[in-house]
């Protein structure tokens, strides 16, 4: 899905992009590609985990689910919790399976919320 964004590029970021000849849109695209919870949970110690951790930190700081809304989210949070592991996932097949499971859970969660919010 493509979308047009109007964002303010802070001076520090802009200068750094200029020094290293980075196109801001390329950088942001890279960031967004790994800001994925299914991807992160499939291999939480991978080198590309930082965007997902930034996303989680953002959710933790600004968007924690309130107690009133909790029952609406609980079944999906529980399902998501079931794929979170502390130990490194050993095979690529296993990683792929977790990523697909995670993506399906989040899609169903999204569908459920969209229906609820439309009412």
């Amino acid at each position: 899905m493509e979308t047009q964004l109007t964002i303010n590029l802070p001076e520090d970021f802009r200068i750094l992009c200029d020094i290293f000849q980075i196109k801001p849109e390329v950088f942001i695209q890279k960031f967004l590609e790994t800001a994925s919870l299914p991807y992160y949970y499939s291999d939480p110690d991978c080198e590309n985990r930082w965007a997902a951790l930034f996303l989680l930190k953002y959710l933790k700081t600004y968007h924690m689910i309130s107690n009133e809304d909790f029952s609406m989210h609980q079944p999906f949070l529980d399902q998501l919790a079931s794929i979170i592991s502390i130990k490194a996932v050993e095979t690529v097949e296993e990683q792929n399976e977790i990523e697909i499971r995670g993506r399906n859970i989040i899609k169903k969660w999204h569908e459920h919320l969209s229906t609820k919010r439309a009412i």
Partner: protein, 270 residues
């Protein structure tokens, strides 16, 4: 993990008075991570149990925490009236009244009150039988001995419990993974044992000798923990969350132990 502790019958026998208690693994791990010896933590805990504070409504920091650990002990519901003062009831009441008067005296500072309470506690102790504590020492193991204070002994005699019971109760409440999991779920109920342990690990009484050893391991551990808080963000189940933290703490503990063994091993060889 071996969290089994020796079970003590509360029945009075000479063998059971002042015998050692097994240190639960979670407690030992917590002490290692914060570079405190279990002996020092337990001794500090005993030293801060205060009969004076058990009667006072004031909050006195670690004294209140340690004392409340004993007050919140899961005593049997049908606990009978203590026989500790049955022979000297009037004298005991006089002492306790003296303590209450001290507590309510607005002209004294907390320090003065505590100081003035000492001879009364000592007096109270003189008329208390030594049924549950025969000596003022408790052997933790072959080489480690804890000193039991008059206040601590009073609690044991009044509640008719061997000291190991109280120490087990304190230690059983110290689990770093449980603390982290509860904090992360916003479960903020006050746990007095944890509050006391945290005061020590934060530097109270300086028993963790200032800096933690092996700073590189600690920095890695802090990084790992920060990530773990985020990784476990969606886990709402206490046990699952606890299990995740337990793995992180355990892995850090093993690294610390291994490094210490290597360090001391090399030192000896050199």
């Amino acid at each position: 993990m071996d969290v089994n502790m020796k079970k003590y019958s509360n029945k009075r026998t000479n063998d059971e008075v002042c015998t050692a208690t097994t240190i639960p693994f979670e407690f030992k791990m917590a002490c290692t991570i914060y570079n405190m010896s279990p002996k020092d933590v337990l001794q500090c805990f005993i030293d801060h149990v205060s009969f004076y504070d058990s009667l006072s409504q004031r909050f006195n920091g670690p004294y209140s925490y340690a004392t409340n650990v004993l007050i919140s002990y899961p005593y049997e519901e049908n606990e009978k009236i203590s026989k500790a003062f049955s022979r000297n009831r009037d004298h005991a009441i006089k002492c306790i009244r003296g303590l209450l008067n001290l507590i309510m005296d607005p002209n004294l500072t907390e320090e003065q009150r505590r100081k003035k309470s000492l001879p009364i506690i000592s007096e109270l102790h003189k008329i208390t039988p030594n049924n549950y504590i025969k000596t003022n020492e408790l052997k933790l193991d072959k080489n480690t001995t804890l000193r039991l204070t008059l206040d601590f002994r009073l609690f044991c005699e009044i509640h008719e419990l061997v000291p190991a019971k109280y120490l087990e109760h304190f230690m059983a409440n110290i689990s770093l993974s449980d603390i982290s999991a509860r904090n992360s779920l916003g479960m903020t109920e006050l746990n007095y044992a944890v509050a006391f342990f945290s005061a020590l690990s934060d530097g109270y009484k300086n028993i963790n000798e200032g800096n933690l050893p092996h700073p590189d391991l600690h920095f890695n551990f802090i990084d790992r923990m920060q990530e773990m808080h985020l990784r476990a963000l969606f886990i709402r189940n206490l046990d699952q969350k606890k299990q995740m933290y337990q793995e992180v703490y355990y892995s850090h503990y093993l690294k610390l132990i291994k490094r210490s063994e290597n360090y001391y091993g090399n030192s000896v060889n050199n």
